[in-house]
């Protein structure tokens, strides 16, 4: 080893009392986590998931080019724009976004604990809550950077060229709803990840068990889902041609967009605050 002298000698040792600011620490954790996340195996899995709608859009485009109707509802041929709307709701909002929320959100802190790398973050002069927030923001950025381009590619493939200008406004709306969905599901499952012992199982049950069932039931249970409020933000009514959708239409009780946004914001903020408080106060016993 080259020298016995201390390494840095920068002497950055302010008086004890407080660590670095929350915002500054959050941005540094964001920087550290985003790079790790973008190249993680989980991101490859995410890219494969969001490639599925693109593949379906390509197939649909090829089929429609032959003059065959890809989707008919009540005997009426549904155009590319309509199919795009169906894909946004069924593929993205009901499957991809909750799935990404579960797999990413639950692992944001749990992976660091399982890999025992959390020690390096917990022994730095930064508030623990900034670790939670920085990782959460990195998840939102990473997920949005993979999912939103996929939506735009599907849009370009599905919507006829002449309708693109007219449909661009609704597209921005769809992108916004997807971003909100990623943020809210991510925050809720992040909370599950720091509070529960088996967050992945609980998350999957919530996203693919509880939510579809609660949406079907009359009464207030659907208010305890995220999909209920996301559905209310959809700019276009979803086409219905099966019994399930008709049943949903009967029990449909849609809040206004403003009310939905406020509830989603409330869920996001509360989930993040609880997750940060849990990590601040919790001890992590790492087995050697």
């Amino acid at each position: 080893m080259s020298s016995g002298q201390p390494a840095a000698g920068s002497g950055q040792q302010p008086a004890a009392g407080s660590g670095q600011s929350f915002v500054r620490s959050t941005m540094r954790i964001f920087d550290l986590s985003l790079g790790e996340m973008l190249w993680a195996r989980r991101t490859i899995f995410m890219a494969l998931i969001v490639a599925a709608p693109v593949f379906l859009a390509v197939v649909s485009r090829i089929v429609s080019a032959n003059g065959t109707a890809v989707l008919r509802i009540n005997g009426e041929r549904v155009g590319g724009g309509g199919i795009f709307g169906v894909m946004i709701w069924i593929l993205y909002l009901k499957f991809i976004i909750p799935a990404l929320g579960v797999f990413y959100g639950t692992s944001l802190i749990a992976d660091e604990v399982e890999d025992k790398t959390i020690t390096y973050l917990f022994t730095r002069p930064i508030p623990r809550r900034s670790i939670v927030m920085g990782k959460y923001l990195a998840y939102v950025a990473c997920a949005a950077s993979v999912v939103l381009p996929s939506v735009m590619i599907v849009f370009m493939l599905m919507v006829p060229f002449g309708e693109i200008g007219r449909s661009f406004g609704p597209l921005l709306g769809d992108l916004g709803i997807i971003a909100i969905g990623l943020a809210v599901y991510g925050a809720v499952f992040l909370l599950a990840g720091v509070m529960l012992k088996r967050p992945l199982v609980a998350g999957l049950v919530f996203a693919f068990g509880w939510e579809p069932i609660a949406l079907l039931l009359p009464g207030y249970l659907k208010h305890f889902t995220i999909a209920y409020y996301l559905q209310a933000l959809m700019p276009q009514a979803m086409p219905a041609d099966d019994t399930l959708s008709l049943l949903q239409a009967v029990v449909r009780d849609v809040p206004s967009a403003t009310v939905s946004l406020l509830w989603l914001l409330f869920a996001l903020v509360i989930a993040l605050i609880l997750a940060m408080r849990a990590v601040e106060s919790r001890e992590y016993i790492l087995e050697q």
């Binding site: 080259s2 004890a16 001890e283």
Partner: protein, 307 residues
Amino acid sequence: MTAVIEAEHLSKWYGQVSGLNDVTVAVPSGITGLLGPNGAGKSTFMKLVTGQLRPSTGTVRVCGDPIWGNPAQYFRLGFCPEQDAFYERMTGLEWVTALARLHGLSPDAADAAARRALETVDLLEAADRKIGAYSKGMRQRVKLAQAIAHDPALLILDEPLSGLDPIMRRRTIRLIKDWGCAGKSILVSSHILHEIEAMTSNILLMHNGRILAEGNVYQIRALIDEHPHTVSIRVGDPRALARRLLTDEDVSSLRFEPGVVVVETPRPDAFYSRLTQLAASGEGGTIEEVTSPDDNLQAVFTYLVKT
């Protein structure tokens, strides 16, 4: 001497299991060795001292201030954990720089600090290689680099010599001693007496979650010498190394395990010195890893507990 770490009636329980039991101790500035067999409570003590765990009862203060929930304390504390855990896809330089940034350094300052730290631990040449491709010794050294990069006044090193080859072991011991001479306070744990003895004479002996003894290492030296010291050496050609070692008076017995020579020696200091020479000369093949089961230390502790 002023105490850098003060614990008063410090206990830690994991459910029904006691990790640390009513420890009251003042760790002075300078180098202090924390010695005890596996499961003695060394790591629990270090986790309490580094604020990763909250005391069940009692208090722990670092440089006069509590550590749990007090992140500003980490400006003056550097921690090298025992676990072999990393962001494997990052290079050594990226990792140490990113962690230095969490101490409030600008990108340029963090990069410079990381390079200095990596140079200090002889890892600058491999700084741009991914940590996943590092050998065990390099991984141990990059952990040391992240602990010193922000120039802390107090270093907590949990088994820093674990898995190092004899030459790196000797260099790391020298480095820790030099840091001590440069005014750093260092608490270093090990289950191997002669390692601690090579760094400092000031030790804390732990056993079953308690501080069994504190003070000068030479007081227990005589006890430890009564028990043969076991050394396990992973080497490319175990039989060639065994042939070399058998000519040595410091070896009392020797046996083989797959890829490993297990040696018992009544004089560990002389034996390790000889082993380092062998490693440097390449005689007996390339030595990959040297570990020491703590059987002999356990025997001493058992003796101390009985008396």
